[in-house]
């Protein structure tokens, strides 16, 4: 491969970026620059937690988790065009599956205390299975109707979570999440590796990062496969898709199932970061957060989902840090025109509207523009 490309580079002098095979063109990293930057990015993310404060490490861990859930929702909403408000429900199912299988049995709640190698896949598979059961119902409707139907799912789910006390601890009480012990190695405890003491937040950060990278690459592969194409075909023109031999029901069901798998994994990991999970966590606002991730990040792009997750998770912290500097804005109970949380909601809402109007491709679209501008620099076209 390297020999072949090297020689073709020599013969195509002046056009070093020409693709010389279809395999090369359809690769995830179809240019060397892209691959190198992603490798640099991965290295930076691995080293980063050792230079950051604890709460920052936990925050970036949350970014990875939101990116996993966001990628899942993007497969369903961005690629297959099925708007879903039900993401929070599947996150919740994932979290409780993990908690029951991997948590401790304490104060009236069930916990089997199994290893993470068992509960992590199941935290994805159980929501996926529920999605498979619900799909024949949900996939009969589309557009706004599906949005409302999945909205109903969140409310029904929240109610069930509040009532199923042996599993969830009940409303206002909650329960402890699963213990992330992977093949006997505790991923959420301070560890000493090769003489270095690594704190538990860093360990869990690295674990989430690995899971995130694996799932992001899997999603990227999926998106460039025949399934990604048939998702887009169903989104763009379902009748024509059917005449091409794409089964509508099967394609939509697959999108729903795979999206719920991603949500379940994200939910299980999120519950560990939160520390104690109460049924109220999995409400409509969490679903909206995930919609914000994909709308701000960019529909139908995997990298966009990641950018969106960074934005949605870090923005509140940024607003928190900046508001005291602006006169008239204060913390909760401090008076002023608006408090921090109100300001956050307003900024979120404004940004979603602005992105929808000005750049529907989201942050990913902004990035493309920036990249293309500098590709052609100093010529504007």
């Amino acid at each position: 491969m390297s020999n072949a490309t090297a020689s073709s580079h020599r013969t195509t002098r002046g056009r070093p970026q020409l693709f010389t095979s279809y395999a090369q063109e359809t690769a995830i990293f179809n240019t060397r620059v892209k691959r190198n930057w992603v490798l640099v990015g991965i290295l930076v993310m691995i080293v980063l937690p050792f230079f950051m404060q604890r709460d920052m490490v936990a925050l970036i861990t949350t970014v990875f988790i939101f990116a996993i859930g966001g990628i899942g929702l993007n497969l369903l909403t961005g690629y297959a065009g099925q708007v879903s408000l039900g993401q929070a429900f599947f996150l919740g199912v994932g979290a409780y599956t993990a908690a029951v299988l991997g948590g401790e049995s304490r104060s009236g709640v069930i916990g089997l205390g199994w290893d993470m190698a068992i509960w992590l896949p199941l935290a994805g598979l159980v929501p996926a299975l529920i999605a498979l059961v619900l799909a024949p119902l949900a996939m009969r409707v589309r557009g706004l109707y599906l949005a409302i139907l999945t909205l109903g799912l969140v409310f029904i789910g929240e109610h069930i979570f509040k009532e199923a006390k042996p599993i969830t601890g009940g409303a206002g009480v909650g329960r402890a999440p699963a213990d992330p012990v992977f093949l006997g190695f505790d991923l959420f405890a301070n560890q000493t590796i090769l003489g270095y003491r690594i704190d538990r937040f860093t360990i869990f950060y690295l674990a989430c990062f690995v899971i995130f990278v694996v799932m992001a690459f899997a999603a990227k592969n999926f998106a460039r496969s025949r399934f990604g194409r048939s998702f887009a075909a169903v989104r763009d023109r379902d009748i024509a898709a059917e005449v091409m031999g794409v089964s509508l029901l099967r394609t939509k069901t697959l999108a729903f199932v795979i999206s719920s798998f991603y949500a379940g994994i994200a939910g299980a990991l999120l519950s560990i970061v939160i520390g104690r999970i109460s049924p109220e966590t999995w409400n409509i606002f969490l679903s909206i957060d995930f919609l914000a991730v994909i709308f701000i990040g960019g529909l139908a792009t995997i990298s966009g989902s990641i950018m969106g997750a960074i934005f949605v998770v870090l923005l509140p912290k940024l607003v928190n840090a900046l508001t005291p500097l602006i006169p008239g804005f204060g913390g909760v109970g401090e008076g002023g025109i608006l408090n921090v949380f109100e300001l956050q909601s307003i900024i979120f809402g404004l940004l979603i509207i602005l992105f929808l109007i000005l750049e529907p491709r989201g942050l990913y679209g902004l990035w493309l523009r920036l990249r293309n501008y500098f590709k052609a620099w100093p010529f504007s076209y």
Binding site: R226, R229, R237, V243, I258
Partner: protein, 269 residues
């Protein structure tokens, strides 16, 4: 002209009748298309041309009659199944996937030949890659054939009308069909685009030997290209024959031009 083979016909319709409530869209129409034949269906607006296409591709189900495709009865089969056994269709109004590139649109035509599993897709396994590349080569061949290399990587929604029509022909050809249904392939095109499309249709027949049924209002195109022409009026077959025969048929002239003008028309045609 291409030799008509003496084999069994690719498709034969026998006594097809289709009605919507009290409206008789198609009444007792029979015809068959031979291998490699370019068969045209013409008729005034509302004569039932597109209804016949919808019967063949499984979108409508006729109340009476039988449709045999390569010997198999296809009335009552799903559009998906009929597509898989070799009937491809180009729509009257463009039905492309606007946000996908030309390559991806054509790759969707290859749907039935890509069989790797979900797990293969997530890992992009060797099997997935091999199938993708093998089908990509076929698609690129078609892109080359249709002379749309320049648009290969553009989202289809951005392309001009004439090119979109060509992409749609390409997507239908990508299905490797045995019968191609062309529903007004040159509607709304200028002279040059029409000439291009006519050339592609002839090339498809000459190089790929695909049988075609063509519905078209452009009489010049139909008379130049078709081996045989079926004329419909109010859902009924009023003539069937070579273009020359059909053009001389008094019933056809009456259907197109009305009673009074038919005398005058004889002089001009």
């Amino acid at each position: 002209m291409v030799e008509l083979s003496a084999d069994a016909p690719v498709i034969s319709l026998d006594g097809i009748s289709l009605s919507f409530g009290g409206t008789q869209a198609v009444r007792d129409v029979s015809f068959s298309v031979n291998t490699g034949e370019l068969f045209a269906v013409i008729g005034p607006n509302g004569a039932g041309k597109t209804s016949i296409f919808n019967c063949i591709s499984g979108v409508y189900r006729p109340q009476k009659g039988s449709i045999k495709f390569l010997g198999e009865e296809i009335i009552g089969q799903s559009p998906e199944h009929i597509a898989r056994i070799g009937v491809a269709r180009m729509f009257q109004n463009i039905e492309l996937f606007d946000n996908l590139t030309v390559v991806d649109n054509l790759m969707l035509g290859r749907t039935q030949y890509l069989t790797y599993s979900v797990a293969s897709a997530l890992l992009y396994s060797r099997k997935a890659r091999r199938q993708e590349i093998a089908n990509r080569e076929i698609v690129e061949g078609l892109i080359d054939f249709l002379d749309i290399e320049a648009y290969r990587a553009f989202p289809v929604g951005m392309l001009p009308y004439g090119v979109k029509k060509r992409v749609e022909l390409g997507r239908a050809l990508a299905m490797d069909p045995k019968l191609l249904l062309l529903d007004e392939p040159v509607a709304g095109m200028n002279v040059e685009e029409t000439e291009d499309m006519a050339r592609f249709i002839l090339d498809v027949r000459a190089e790929m030997g695909i049988s075609m049924i063509l519905v078209e209002h452009d009489m010049g195109l139909v008379m130049d290209l078709a081996d045989r022409v079926l004329v419909l009026d109010f859902g009924e077959r009023i003539a069937l024959g070579t273009p020359a025969e059909v053009q001389r048929d008094p019933k056809v002239i009456r259907a197109y031009l009305g009673e009074d003008l038919s005398e005058a028309a004889k002089e001009t045609t």
